[in-house]
Symmetry: none
Subunit: 287 residues, 2 copies
DNA sequence: CGGCGGGCGGAATGTTTATTCCAATCTACG
DNA sequence: CGTAGATTGGAATAAACATTCCGCCCGCCG
């Protein structure tokens, strides 16, 4: 063979890798076949292990692993391992890579389109994640809580005010009693004070947590009002002062974080609550 | 140090780790808190990254990561990283099980998860469309228009109020003069009347078009104030009364329409305008 | 039967890794 | 305002790492 059979085709996605492996396996020498079989049978070993560990478990030499990767057109073991890792990663990787790529195109296009792609991609990432991360039991518990409320009091400020103002709109359309704490005239705490034990406070806040939201939620929780929180991590001050909380992770692009996943969850809560309450929505209420 | 403060309790499961972190966080020094926040926000970074990579992304020194792990009773970074990795290992198996479990619970739970998937899907569709449908030249023209404005007046009502309230937040953070027409006390038209020829009115409305938004936009247009519209079709009343309009198509699920694409466009406008104006954003303004 | 070449194991290599250490800096309290 | 302790950044270090290299082995064809 005078020239390289494969000049350069380092397959990045896992499915493509499996396909390539199936195709090449027959022509592979004994030890390399052995590695191939081990790889497909121990996927996360391949993702997390080092050459030494994997080699021992597969019953081969560490150098064989490198040869295996190179036989599949990768530059080395590490590059191949990335395929196994990307499979486990929650899409955040290629978010980073794209971000870097975007920086390049930005200059040429004037930047606005590149920014749009960045925000779109951050939103897509967030949506993918929320599907996997939401625990159905928690979601159902949240809906049950809301459906049992006499009045739902909506609290959110700054970045999250859009979410609660949307919820106020949606609940209104769906015929569910909800009041929006909009903090007009600085009366936020007073607006929220109408919440009693038969009501539910729905508080939304992500880092950095708006003081007003945290205080109102904490006060309600202290008074024995059920508080349902939408927040971004277990460390959130909201998570400590509530009856139940839903965790929604949003991806960010540049200095701005997506709100797509939070909106999807908010819409779900609104509609599911309406269904549970047995109220039928105005048929063409949102067109 | 004569005796270990903690004899040995290296927490192995991820949920336990989060709980521990939540408990210890208040007593942690600044940099370690920073690591804690980054860790929870970038879980797979923690699982796959090396100390050098993670440290850079978290804005700390590699040694700080080791100290962080040790502050949480691990022998070092590597031991702690195993927690993040084991979580992903589980997830692989989990994923199949969960999917099967979902199918089962769906009927029983009344379908909250199914609703979520529906809304997520509608959002994803909208995002895909907007990437293809937006014309870069229009987007750039919109940014140029906004960047030249003395003050940006934001108009949107009902379903679109979340968009403009978000824009008010974003522009504020970016140091761009913008006022939100929130129609408090029914003063919407008066609030919008401050807009003069050097300003720009940014109006957002989708069918069925809110009367207030349409009227304010038309009035401004008549007065010679540049109006930039975000709307859903060429037939929109907004499209007739403006200097420039961007078309954004949103998919709907059930009676509710996604807002994901509109949000992505709104964020783009905000950041691109800031960049064009030559103002640098507060580096960690939205975290 | 003998030589040739791909395949392989294992040591050698240079790089990257986690970790430790110490000096500089900051913080809090007197 | 000053000092003791905690906190931090950054260089130093040693272990682990992926990778390369070399020589041996084994099977195939002449």
């Amino acid at each position: 063979m005078p020239a390289e059979p494969q000049p350069a085709s380092p397959i990045k996605d896992f499915d493509g890798f499996v396909a390539l492996l199936r195709q090449r396996r027959p022509t592979l020498p004994k030890r390399l076949k052995q590695v191939a079989d081990h790889a497909l049978a121990h996927l996360d070993d391949m993702a997390f292990g080092s050459t030494a560990q994997i080699a021992e478990r597969a019953g081969v030499q560490a150098s064989t692993l490198v040869r295996f990767a190179q036989a599949l057109d990768y530059s080395g073991f590490s590059e191949m391992q990335e395929v196994f890792r990307s499979r486990l990663r929650r899409q955040v990787v290629d978010h980073r890579e794209r971000l870097a790529a975007l920086r390049g195109t930005q200059a040429a296009t004037g930047g606005a389109v590149a920014l749009l792609e960045g925000f779109v991609h951050a939103s897509e990432t967030s949506l993918t994640q929320v599907k996997a991360a939401i625990r159905p039991a928690d979601l159902d518990a949240a809906v049950t809580l809301l459906a049992g409320a006499r009045t739902i009091v909506l609290v959110g400020a700054r970045r999250m005010f859009p979410i609660v103002s949307y919820l106020a709109y949606a609940f209104g359309k769906l015929g569910i009693r909800a009041v929006l704490v909009d903090n007009v005239a600085g009366l936020g705490p007073e607006q929220a004070a109408i919440a009693g034990p038969g009501d539910v406070v729905l508080a939304v806040s992500y880092a950095p947590y708006a003081a007003m939201t945290v205080e109102i939620a904490a006060a309600a929780h202290r008074r024995g009002v059920p508080v349902l929180a939408l927040t971004d991590s277990a460390l959130s001050p909201l998570a400590e002062n509530c009856r139940l909380w839903l965790e929604v992770a949003e991806a960010d692009y540049g200095a701005f974080r997506s709100v797509a996943a939070t909106f999807a969850v908010a819409m779900t809560l609104a509609v599911a609550t309406a269904e549970k309450s047995g109220l039928s929505a105005d048929p063409d209420l949102d067109r």
